[in-house]
């Protein structure tokens, strides 16, 4: 933690405990008297929101597991029973299903915040990489969780995604059979997905611990991208986490939970898919298999590769592009050559960033559509082509724009300190 500890045990018991297990001191230094830049805006509240949603998902998930039956013959009915017969099951199931979506909304805003304000740059590379690890774990957890209700989209989503593995040269088929535990997605697959879906959130919680640890070494970034000054000036640049940011985070969490409640109670199925109210049927494929909304941009990238690239066939190429779209985030700290963290002071790059956000949303739109349909009815302009263009931009942003802009762009003048930025005396 930055700076010496200010915790002073007050009672005999806390003094006794502090010399044996300084856990109150750890909490105090991390969440009470933790010096936090005084200029954080509301984009910095999503970390706290995410922590709340991890807890919501784990608590509702443990409860659902008390009533859910991981069997291909009973899984679908057991979820319907939870929704209809179990006391408050309708609410808890809705919280869990919609909680996943709200978890992803928050994580995407959290990630875009990091991209805009350069939160991934030195000395926070490990913090960023741990975040990408959490995101990958979230994706695996959400995918397996979506299979559990054993509806048509559950089943066919599992078929499509597990078939991606078969694109791996030579050993793909063997790995796929190993994942399935049979000759197709079936009982063995459902049972192991349930086991892993229960396990992974606790792994996520562990990596979140590392993420917060890595955050508390350098401290928070902030909108102007300057480090808080050390020594006596530190107090001018920072505020104690409590009460300033506990209150700000709590307010944001409450607002976010209010929107969450609108979905849980009034629009419980809006984010779901009608086909998932039909029980899984291995003999009938739904007309359009679409993943949950939070995977759509990557689904569009997967489908954008429709051509062979040298020895790599289109199918393997699509899989590599999709995983590459996430893997590239791991090396982002070394792709961005600019020393300026915040896009506020990068007049050109912030426009490229703006279009990157549009591209990510546009890829989501492409992922939801049939690739052979026309964009806004414009004959000839297929969603496939839009998806290919946006995929190209997605990769170009990381591989060309960020490395080049750091060299050619002349950043705007930055304030002298966080204090100067807040007081407007820059």
């Amino acid at each position: 933690m930055s700076g010496p500890s200010t915790y002073e045990p007050k009672s005999g018991f806390t003094r006794w405990l502090d010399s044996r297990l300084p856990i109150i001191r750890l909490g105090w230094d991390s969440f009470v008297d933790f010096p936090t830049p005084r200029n954080l805006n509301y984009w910095w509240t999503f970390g706290g929101i995410l922590a709340v949603f991890l807890v919501i998902q784990i608590v509702t998930g443990i409860i659902l597991a008390m009533h859910y039956v991981p069997h291909e013959l009973y899984a679908f009915d057991s979820v319907e029973r939870i929704r209809r017969d179990v006391n408050y099951g309708w609410m808890i199931q809705s919280m869990h299903a919609n909680g996943a979506s709200f978890f992803f909304v928050a994580v995407y805003l959290h990630m875009f915040r990091g991209l805009y304000y350069g939160s991934y740059k030195a000395p926070r590379e490990v913090l960023w990489i741990l975040g990408v690890v959490i995101y990958l774990l979230m994706m695996a957890t959400a995918f397996m969780g979506y299979v559990l209700p054993w509806g048509q989209m559950s089943y066919w989503g599992a078929i499509v995604i597990t078939n991606l593995v078969a694109a791996v040269p030579f050993v793909g088929d063997a790995i796929r059979e190993w994942l399935w535990g049979g000759f197709s997605v079936g009982q063995s697959t459902l049972n192991r997905f349930f086991s892993l879906h229960y396990l992974l959130p606790f792994i996520i919680a562990g990596v979140v611990g590392l993420h917060i640890w890595a955050l508390h070494v350098p401290g928070n970034g902030n909108p102007v991208g300057l480090e808080a000054r050390k020594g006596d000036d530190n107090k001018k640049d920072t505020l104690p986490f409590h009460p300033y940011y506990t209150v700000k985070d709590a307010f944001a969490i409450l607002v976010y939970l209010m929107v969450f409640c609108v979905f849980v109670f009034f629009l419980p199925n809006v984010l779901g898919h009608a086909d998932n109210f039909i029980e899984a049927n291995p003999l009938s494929t739904p007309a359009h298999i679409v993943p949950e909304w939070y995977f759509l941009p990557f689904y569009a990238i997967l489908r954008a590769v429709t051509f062979d690239i040298g020895p790599i066939d289109a199918k393997l190429g699509g899989v590599l592009a999709m995983f590459g779209a996430i893997a590239i985030l791991f090396v982002l700290p070394w792709l961005d050559t600019s020393k300026v963290r915040s896009m506020r002071y990068r007049p050109l790059t912030r426009w490229f960033f703006g279009f990157f956000v549009v591209a990510a949303l546009g890829l989501g739109w492409c992922g939801a559509k049939n690739p052979d349909d026309y964009v806004l009815g414009m004959t000839g302009f297929k969603f496939l082509y839009l998806g290919q263009f946006l995929t190209l931009y997605y990769f170009a942003y990381f591989l060309v724009i960020l490395p080049v802009m750091g060299i050619v762009e002349k950043p705007k003048k930055r304030p002298a300190s966080i204090e100067a930025a807040v007081l407007g005396t820059a």
């Binding site: 059979e177 994942l179 535990g181 000759f183």
Partner: protein, 209 residues
């Protein structure tokens, strides 16, 4: 190490007995670790009862020419089509060079890697039997039975637009391979057995055309 082939270590010293013991112990630990881990990985592979359910028998005597049936085998669909003379002729009137995938994808013994001509994909030319999951991402293609057979009026995968022909070979679209032919033989004139033992494979009657 003997002096005859004794390379010197980084510090200019000859490797000692201790170095040997160190490497040998480390190697044993790695092998032992692998042996311990393997059961925990292999438990996810198909279990014995899953493998034992690997065979089924299907009566095809009621299947009229020009119609087809879909049976569940190993948790996935298999298409069995009784083809008409016209369909057989159409399937055989295709140049090998017109096929994106020129491997017959026939999983029967002795049929590995044979050319994808129609005769290499059927045991009796009137019965075409193929696995019913698109080789792209596993959707079940729609069929000419429901007037949704695609460009070749045979099978079409609606998920990402793969067109298969009268021999269930990929002709256009993202699917990389022909629909595979499972291992089967005609136990009697009317009964097809899917999933063969080694003894049955030996008498199944598959020959390369």
């Amino acid at each position: 190490m003997t002096e005859a082939n004794g390379a010197l270590g980084e510090d200019g010293q000859e490797p000692s007995r201790r170095d040997f013991i160190y490497i040998a112990a480390g190697g044993m630990a790695a092998v032992g670790g692998g042996l311990v881990v393997w059961p925990f990985i292999d438990q996810m592979n198909p279990a014995a009862d899953t493998l034992a359910l690997g065979s089924i028998r299907v009566d095809v005597s009621q299947l009229l020419p020009g119609s087809e049936m879909t049976v569940m085998w190993r948790g996935a669909p298999v298409f069995i089509r009784h083809r008409t003379e016209e369909e057989i002729a159409e399937a055989r009137n295709v140049e090998l060079s017109d096929l994106p995938d020129q491997d017959a994808r026939n999983e029967n013994a002795g049929m590995e890697g044979v050319p994808a001509i129609d005769a290499n994909r059927v045991l009796r030319s009137e019965f075409l039997i193929v696995k019913g999951n698109c080789t792209h991402l596993g959707c079940v293609p729609t069929s000419q039975e429901t007037n949704a057979g695609g460009e070749y009026d045979a099978w079409y995968c609606p998920c990402h637009g793969s067109h298969y022909d009268k021999s269930a070979r990929i002709r256009r679209g993202p699917a990389p391979e022909n629909l595979p032919v499972p291992d089967y033989f005609f136990e009697t004139e009317a009964v097809v057995k899917l999933g063969l033992s080694d003894d049955e494979s030996a008498i199944a009657g598959w020959t390369v055309a």
